[in-house]
Amino acid sequence: MKEQWRLLKTDFSTAFTNMALDKAVLVANSEGKVSPTVRFYGWKPSAISIGYFQSLEEEVNLDNCRKLGVDYVRRITGGGAVFHEEELTYSIIIPEVHPQIPKNLLKSYGKICGAVMKGLNNLGIESKYVPINDIITGGKKISGNAQTRKAKTILQHGTVLIDVDVDKMFSVLKVPNQKIKDKLIADVKQRVTSIKHVLEKEILFEDVAEEMKRGFEEEFNVELIEGTLTEEEKELTKKFDKECFSARNWNHRR
């Protein structure tokens, strides 16, 4: 019988709740209270998440965020700033000693990205993993990923772009010229794509989630069983939301 992991479909939440929830599951799993978990979610309102080490004001156009009603949050994972709007976000929380997880950090990125790529493939999109943390199709980025490890537990979360308004994206993100210096395509707006753009048709969040579920099941040879948050996870989510992710001293600390 295949190993069973928990699947959480938490629909759309604020940036603060989304990040709090990932951290709550990370804590619960590290204490052995819940099984390895794959979660699919979206963001309402639209939001920017920045990497743990990034400077908020260097990365985010705060005035335009206010004007457009876009939230912003600092992640507990490193990596870059991401504008979350029409996308499916996944997270996977699993002990780092799990036999399905390569010991090597970069290889573990590749393995988890493999699940996302299988999901994309199920949707009819061929993609490629570009280390450290990108998945591209037709030379353009369709998914960004970031991982942390705490208390011997992995949390990796990442985006799968369903649709993208690049003008809005780059009105709320500040992209320094240096970042694109060694890239082939100079115009940042040309460097991202989405499922809708590749398939040239509308696709529902729910359908992307279903194919991603299969992608994770195939890559890890497990069965994902839809479940819910424990009471303790719900309490932890509220606590992390209030005390950390929606707090100014967390988001503005750099």
């Binding site: 743990y52 490193g78 750099r254």
Partner: protein, 94 residues
Amino acid sequence: MQSKSIYKIPNGKLLNISLDYDEINNSINEIKIMGDFFAYPEESIELMENELKNTILEKVSLFEKINSIIRVHSINFIGLNAERLTEGILMCKK
């Protein structure tokens, strides 16, 4: 003296240094190491920033200091390394 540098590391990530340094002693007063790199454990970056205070802004000694901090705290960088971090910090002086 306040200074900043932005350094796109070849085959790596973007490093963003904000430095306050003592021009007479050529040493670090305050430093922030920012960017879209990865470091494990994440909290070690704040330890590094603290331990770099008063370090002389000279290539060899700065590189050795950074390396010793990496060893002591078992820091694992992805998209950044001690050599590039040293370069990024010293760029603030140019």
